[in-house]
């Protein structure tokens, strides 16, 4: 461990060196530095290049950062005065930077913009770029989770594939019917992993039952965790759901080892090529008929660092990115965070049907936080999930403990 610490200290020291040779930008041509985790086959890489070609006076330097490094790299760069002009940041981390004044307040620029209009964006993503009623970024894309199900297995077990489970009770009942240990089939696949993915999957259940991350140990929170515990206790999902991420869990669904799966639209391309059965998507089941819907909200936001020397040009770049939002799904399978865009059909019937459901589900997506100490809140929730599901604590006790930790953070 101390080795990692050493590396970090070394990197901090080295980061100061390039500062000496960086101030030779000519008067007419300026350089914008953009950091994102998108690879050459993904949106940001290409958008940055297109913007570079389009603007003769702006040179774009694009840097690819790995997902795990985005926050730590950005922090390091900002604290040593080496921050880029524009960064793509994961939405639960946005508040952390915004609250510390690291991101530029874009409220005025957005209100004057003809391209980026506040009212065009879904509420959840917009909420994630908001800190104290000011806008500190623009949602880059969005995603959410819904229920995938294997219609062939529904038919084989006498369930109606046109009537997917609507409530938690129906979901559990369907999972019990579909569960078939002799054939290595679990009723449901989801992720309760002890990382952000676990929180991402669990919070929608709490919110649907009337709780929130601020009030996790309410009746609704306990009900949600008890439902998860029932799923695990009755072995309706693999016990490995505790240590397996969403991608691997949904992999078992694609392979026919789970009859239903809770995951997001990022699965669509893989499922189209791998899953050799009639798969469909339904909205996340709700606790009881008439209950409020909710879902998780994922994906990244664009933000401009407050240390930028070219705020106008940087905002121009983000305006260009936003102007291309309508082409992102067809080209890269990325869902825009906007309600004013109608996505064209892809020609694949299953994918188009799934897309409709995800767009409906997106209306109910809620941001995690925003709170500058989100990782700590999230950790408290993960610990509660894992303590309850491994049987070491009752759902109520586990959530009470989480509430205590969350209260300490919220102050």
């Amino acid at each position: 461990m101390s080795i990692r610490m050493c590396l970090m200290a070394g990197a901090v020291a080295l980061a100061g060196i390039p500062a000496l040779g960086m101030s030779h930008a000519s008067a007419e041509e300026i350089t914008l530095r953009i950091w994102s985790l998108d690879k050459p086959e993904q949106p940001a890489w290409n958008l940055a290049k297109e913007f570079d070609d389009k603007e003769p006076n702006i040179k774009v330097e694009y840097r690819l950062i790995q997902f795990d490094d985005v926050v730590s790299e950005a922090m390091r760069a900002y604290s040593t005065g080496q921050a880029p002009d524009i960064i793509a940041i994961d939405n639960p981390e946005h508040a952390l930077f915004a609250s510390r004044g690291a991101f530029l307040d874009l409220t005025d620029m957005i209100s004057k913009s003809s391209v980026i209009k506040k009212e065009n964006y879904f509420k959840g993503p917009l909420n994630s770029v908001t800190w104290k009623d000011k806008l500190y970024g623009v949602p880059k894309a969005t995603n959410t989770i819904a229920l995938y199900y294997n219609a062939d297995m529904f038919r084989a077990k006498g369930l109606d594939p046109d009537k997917p489970p609507q409530t938690w009770d129906e979901l559990l009942a369907a999972a019990r019917k579909l569960n078939d240990p002799a054939r290595n089939v679990y009723g449901l696949a989801f992720s309760a992993k002890g990382n952000e993915e676990g929180t991402f999957q669990f919070l929608p259940w709490v919110q649907m039952a009337g709780g929130s991350y601020k009030h996790i140990n309410t009746e609704g929170g306990v009900k949600a965790l008890t439902a998860w515990k029932t799923i695990m206790n009755e072995k309706l999902a693999s016990p490995d759901s505790l240590t397996r991420g969403q991608w691997d869990s949904t992999g078992t669904f694609n392979a026919g080892n789970a009859a239903m799966a809770i995951s997001g639209p990022w699965e669509l391309n893989r499922m189209t090529s791998e899953a050799k059965f009639d798969w469909r998507v339904a909205l996340l089941p709700i606790p009881q008929p008439g209950a409020e819907r909710s879902s998780a909200m994922g994906d990244f936001n664009w933000a401009i660092f407050s240390s930028t020397k070219h705020p106008a040009e940087a905002f121009k770049a983000i305006e260009y990115f936003a102007s291309q939002d309508d082409k992102m799904f067809a080209k890269y399978g990325q869902l825009p965070a906007r309600s004013d865009i109608t996505l064209p059909a892809t020609g694949d019937a299953k994918k188009d049907a799934a897309l409709k459901v995800f767009q409906e589900q997106l209306k109910y997506a809620q941001a995690r936080g925003p709170h500058p100490q989100w990782p700590k809140i999230s950790k408290a929730i993960q610990d509660a999930i894992q303590a309850a599901l491994t049987g070491q604590m009752s759902p109520k006790d586990a959530l009470d403990q989480a509430q205590k930790k969350i209260d300490a953070v919220l102050g």
């Binding site: 050493c6 200290a9 002890g194 490995d240 990782p375 610990d383 599901l389």
Partner: protein, 300 residues
Amino acid sequence: MRKLALSLTDGRGFDILLVAVPLGFLLALSGLPLLYNVLMSFQEVDMFSLGSVIRPFVGLANYKALFAEPETWPIFANTAIFVTASIAGQFVIGFGLALFFWVNFPGASWLRGLFLISWIMPGLVVGAVWNWMLSGDFGVINFLLREAGLISRNIFWRSDPNFALWAVILANIWLGTSFNMILLSVGLSAIPEDLYEAAELDGANVWQRFVTITLPMMRSSIGAILSLGLIFTLQQFDLFAAITSGGPNNASNVAQYWAWDLSFKQYDFARGATISVIMILFVMLASVIYVRSTRQEVRG
């Protein structure tokens, strides 16, 4: 001036130069970061003060807060179990294999070389492979146990709190055994043959020869391998990241993984540094044992 040049090429100056270069290197790349780490454990650090060295001093607050956490003692206990069980497993199996190859049957030397494959594999790769093997529903280990009739239902190695830590220990024993074997083989080959011949003539049986000749002659090798084992096991991070991520519910979390998680997942750098400092104390203890046992070796 000439005197200085002479001293530098052939004399005290040369000796000092030889020592100064590695010492300077060590100080810059290990010593300073180590001190920086200790300093951080007494400060209030957040990610925006990461670039500065002068930060609010909080005394022992980080240590107090750490030991007030309910998970602290279980995690340190896990670390102790992990270290003890890993070293014990690696050493016993490694010693057994070393003795086995010492018999020197045809092909023994290249077979022994093949064992090193596990040691040269990157930890993350080893972790990924064990992750599949230990998988509850489709893992090959469960399959073998089931076919052999040892278990009637699958063991969820990664997700059952009773097994998660042992799953990582199992992988770590596999990873470290060959290194133990090689070092112990070297120690074994250094024992003079005639000692055994003489003992045999005196009528000592195999067990007596092992206890009265092999073990005492191997003392320094054993001391070195055990303390190196302690250092390597306390460093073991990749397997945790690849197999259990410390879960479920911290059941397989150990100090080194926890420190990383606190620093780079929850951005609590001070707390992460605090755990690292506590670990440094243990590693220093191991270093003392290591230095002492190898010093004996040199004196021979």
